[in-house]
Symmetry: C2
């Protein structure tokens, strides 16, 4: 089985592991699966041959022999269901981990992405300060519940799973913001994720791509 | 097996099927599974006993004998994986349908929810018109790709699946906006979803709850 994923040839996150191929790289490293990477320019993402693989022109797409998948959540779940190390074996625990995977993507990530986009695209608008206070409050509402749930546990529900992988990558989008720093349980949780050898191998791989793009450019 | 889901006692959507219990009701109807509903006040959602089931204080939570799940995406997937009618049997087609389920929730829904929230919470702010143009453009970017992919097909990928169920409920959040009306392929797609008997049973059930709350209040 040959696995190929797509990624930005020159990621706008400058190699900080925030592009969504990183989640898939991390999952593949946890599962011990080798993979190849097809690097794409922004222009290539809009071409019909790529849209046939990824209908929204995003990265990553995932190819495994004849199968083509998209959406980082679906790809990580696909890997986690077929290889040990990313989901518990017990069916109930497995279903709960999948609840947390969806929570990372559909409850915690949207307000964090909305805030990042506002910082990037609306920072110079007259309304920026007033809106940012609202957006910070939306993020904090999620973080306070997440920190309460986590308490002093190591991971979201029992052992490390694809849900933690996803939640850590989502929280990393807050970067060095003071929002995350207000919750020591969450900064420790993110640090535990980042300390995993699979995380580090995945991080180094995506950083190497960005560094190569800078030399080439 | 007794299935119980939670829902708003008095839904802020006024029975229009936009609250996230509706997706789960529809999936249960497609699978032919009977279910009970525990109605909750906004106050009850914040209580520790409910947060132990649903860590973010949202609806729906899902209980099935000893198992408690949350996140409408995870619950619909749980039902779809265990009962016929919501996912294709072929493993590759099944994985592709799950990609589309995630796309509905993680690519298409966030800009639609962001736009709805802005209409509701920021409509009277001085920046409303300028921001709404940006938010409309973000939604349209998704819709144009979705309409291009759909073409004149009935459903997203082969037969009706949980992915269509989710995508239709996400598009319904656009309501009567002109954004959706600009894509006849998408309005026809939504209409096909709404015409399904399971959709109609689920819609009637959530509307009955809202109407009862109005008489009681």
């Amino acid at each position: 089985m040959t696995i190929t994923i797509t990624a930005f040839a020159a990621s706008p996150d400058r190699g900080r592991g925030l592009a969504r191929d990183f989640r898939v790289r991390w999952a593949l490293e946890e599962a011990g699966l080798p993979y190849e990477v097809q690097l794409l320019s922004f222009e290539a993402l809009k071409q019909p041959d790529y849209l046939a693989q990824q209908p929204f022109g995003q990265i990553p797409a995932y190819r495994e022999d004849g199968l083509i998948l998209f959406e980082s959540g679906a790809i990580v779940l696909h890997i986690a269901e077929r290889h040990p190390g990313l989901l518990p074996a017990d069916p109930a625990a497995r279903a709960r981990a999948i609840s947390w995977l969806f929570a990372a993507l559909n409850t915690v990530e949207p307000p964090i992405v909305e805030r990042s986009m506002a910082l990037m695209l609306e920072g110079d608008r007259p309304w920026a300060a007033e809106r940012m206070a609202m957006l910070d409050a939306n993020v904090a509402k999620c973080l306070v519940q997440l920190a309460r749930h986590l308490g002093d546990a190591e991971w979201l529900d029992g052992g490390f799973s694809a849900a933690d992988l996803m939640m850590v990558t989502v929280l990393c989008r807050l970067g060095a913001s003071e929002l995350l720093a207000a919750y020591p349980a969450l900064t420790a949780y993110v640090a535990r994720g980042e300390a995993r050898p699979a995380y580090q191998r995945a991080f180094a791989a995506q950083l190497a791509v960005f560094e190569a793009s800078q030399k080439a450019g």
